[in-house]
Symmetry: C2
Subunit: 215 residues, 2 copies
DNA sequence: AAAGTTCTTGACCAAACGGTCAGGAAACCG
DNA sequence: CGGTTTCCTGACCGTTTGGTCAAGAACTTT
């Protein structure tokens, strides 16, 4: 009775090992890039022999693809906005959500950025399917807001690019930001400051003022 | 007399070869990352045997360092703003200049982004010396504008980050933007559109309106 | 034209890479 | 328990990598 014979012990182990490998792979791919990452480094960080990594993920590319698609799904699920909200609420909440993602998932953001920067050789299909559809949906929402006179008539597409660029910058260029912050990571207060600054510029820029603040 | 025996023929050749190698290296590093780039690929693209590359640049790291520092210098020289201009003129021109750089030097921008994203292992000294100084100077300029009441009191630092992020996004994520543009590169008109959209959001966002346009 | 310097290059390493495999250990199931 | 499947891993392999080298070609200088 000391060792409770849990049914599905193997299944648990499998999940844990896959999780550990994906966790390690995300970090190694983020720090070294796809080409610079080695299966040995991933194995060491995951605390498993290299051959075991290949038992769960047959090739480096398969492992990488899993890492990238995980990130993409997190990003899609965690951050969206729809037409039920006002522009100030919708875009404000989107900025908050994406800034939080940059803080909690910086490695993932960097893997994604690296992949896109190098021409998206592995996940081009994601771009062409899911991302195009998502983007066109959001452009429609913003255009509706404009048509209803709820915000300035700026190009929805370029507004989206500005939002992506700015929020992800805090993850992708986190090292540069840290260097410009005396080598220290941003504190809680500094993250709040960053979020508020971005929201102040963008919400004013599109002609909606934060309803909870006078100027 | 058919072949004019130019003195310094070797010197010319040296310059041309170094130029060709740096040109090729910038592209290969941008497309494959530091780890994924191979000296053989660079050699092939430069049209020289691999051993010759090593004659001009002893190691891969030395070549890479030259590429990155070239980019950094172009970026510093081509884009700046000082207090002689108004915020609208200064920041507007800065956006124009950086957007143009993103269009004309996308590879360089990507190499720089990759390097910073992976923790700046090679050019950390640049970040700590030149970039910190440059940034603090620009923050001072913006703070002066704010103190004189010429623009809204937003955080100069986060405004800079937003400007860097947004303008460089058009180079670093150019592939994604292209995919979202039916696989076509942005046309001249679309680039103008992008520049105007960014300027419209940012200049309105900081409380200065483009003097040459009514709302 | 001879001597000296710089440049060029095919052939060649040692090291590191992604991936394989056989055979043993552990867990599951009847 | 015994049979079957799943999991684990040290040793190994072919390939590619960054880098070297020696011998010759090209250019410069005297």
């Amino acid at each position: 009775m000391a060792t409770t014979p849990i049914s599905g012990r193997q299944k648990n182990r499998r999940q844990e090992n896959e999780k550990a490998i994906l966790w390690a792979a995300e970090r190694v791919f983020a720090e070294a890039g796809y080409g610079g990452a080695t299966m040995q480094l991933i194995a060491d960080l995951a605390g498993l022999p290299k051959a075991n990594i290949h038992y769960y993920f047959q090739t480096k590319e398969e492992l990488y693809r899993r890492v990238v698609s995980n990130i993409f799904n997190i990003w899609l699920e965690a951050a969206a906005f729809d037409e039920t909200a006002s522009p100030a609420e919708g875009i404000g909440a989107y900025i908050d959500a994406k800034m939080d993602l940059s803080r909690t998932h910086p490695h993932g953001s960097r893997v994604w950025a690296s992949e896109v920067m190098h021409g998206a050789p592995i996940i081009q299909d994601y771009l062409e399917d899911v991302l195009i559809e998502w983007t066109e949906g959001r452009i429609g929402v913003i255009q509706n807001w404009i048509d209803q006179g709820l915000m300035n008539p700026i190009s929805p597409r370029h507004l989206l690019y500005l939002l992506w660029a700015t929020t992800q910058h805090y993850a992708d260029f986190g090292h540069q930001i840290e260097t410009l912050n005396n080598g220290e990571p941003l504190s809680d207060a500094q993250w709040e400051d960053a979020k508020n600054s971005v929201k102040a510029i963008v919400l004013t820029g599109i002609g909606v003022t934060d309803p909870h603040r006078g100027v």
